[in-house]
Symmetry: C2
Subunit: 195 residues, 2 copies
């Protein structure tokens, strides 16, 4: 398998491409980790120490409410980021969990390292700005959909726009991501599959 850090460089190249110095800095300031299925890189009460880039595998970020019910906020597959940005920047305890849904290979950048990259190589400011803007737009649309569409429409949208995830992730997690119970999602699936 190719070099995970190389994959990360390639990811940035899709924005404003990195030069040699920036690549080197990025490799020095990041670290490859291998996670096994059901491994956590963040648990409630801990500070989220790193921006995590998924090179291989699939992860989820979720919150557990006072009744003990999990609420999936985000999935991350190959070439996607996962991090509790709030906790990362304030260095305060997170209320979220980040868990590997499969064995994963990820690249992590810790707080001090990212600050270093930002100040030494302003291109990272630029690239992360653009990356987060895109994520922001996506999130806005999810919130709009949550308010403007019913469960059936939201599920249909999910399957259409994330067929990979729909096939890869247990339906319990999809249900939680969409904001419905697993039972109700099961009924929706039964209904739509017989068409």
């Amino acid at each position: 398998m190719a070099d995970p850090q190389q994959a990360l460089c390639a990811h940035f190249d899709r924005y404003l491409a990195l030069d040699e110095a920036e690549r080197t800095a990025l490799k020095e300031r990041s670290r490859v980790r291998r996670l096994k299925k059901r491994g956590f890189i963040l648990q409630e009460g801990e500070v989220c120490r790193s921006y995590t880039y998924v090179v291989e595998g699939c992860m989820r970020m979720y919150e557990v409410d006072e009744k003990g019910v999990e609420h999936n906020l985000q999935f991350a597959q190959e070439n996607e980021w996962i991090v509790d940005i709030g906790s990362f920047h304030t260095e305060k305890p997170s209320s979220l969990f980040i868990e590997a849904l499969e064995a994963c290979v990820v690249v992590c950048i810790e707080h001090a390292d990212l600050l270093h990259l930002y100040t030494q190589h302003p291109k990272f400011d630029r690239n992360f700005r653009v990356i987060i803007e895109d994520l922001f737009v996506e999130l806005q649309q999810r919130l709009l959909r949550r308010n403007a569409s019913n469960a059936e429409q939201r599920y249909a949208h999910f399957v259409q726009h994330h067929p990979g995830l729909a096939a890869r992730v247990p339906n319990v997690h999809v249900a939680s991501y969409l904001g419905v119970t697993p039972e109700f999602l099961s009924r929706l699936r039964a209904k739509t599959s017989k068409r």
Copy 2:
């Protein structure tokens, strides 16, 4: 009333403070606009041409679904930004409306001008990155709350965290922002006020 562009400079100074050259550039590349109540700066089908910073007044951004129902995505009061980032960057038609809820004074930065600021003065990359990160965190928490809390809890949270808005904005709009009908919000208010 003070210079609106000065207010915008002061806003940036709360992040990485601007130097003289950056202030000058910002003033050259932005434009003050006055809007009257119910004036639009964006309508469905148009491209969102500018990042808008509210100096005085209050605005909302919303979508209209196929049944004609409005869904408020965001409010912006004094010292807050409002923009359809997706449409702004892609320069494709927006599906959103941005409307003044009161007479407003705003400062606008158009696409070409913002690009200019980004490339000539990288500090804007940095500052907007941080601004959007903060907005992103807020939005994530709204989505989590939407899925994890009921209408009563969401309304209580809104009143507690945005007392200004709750007093300023008609309840119809608050209801839509929270994802409930105005009728139901009215009942919630009746219930909680008699405690």
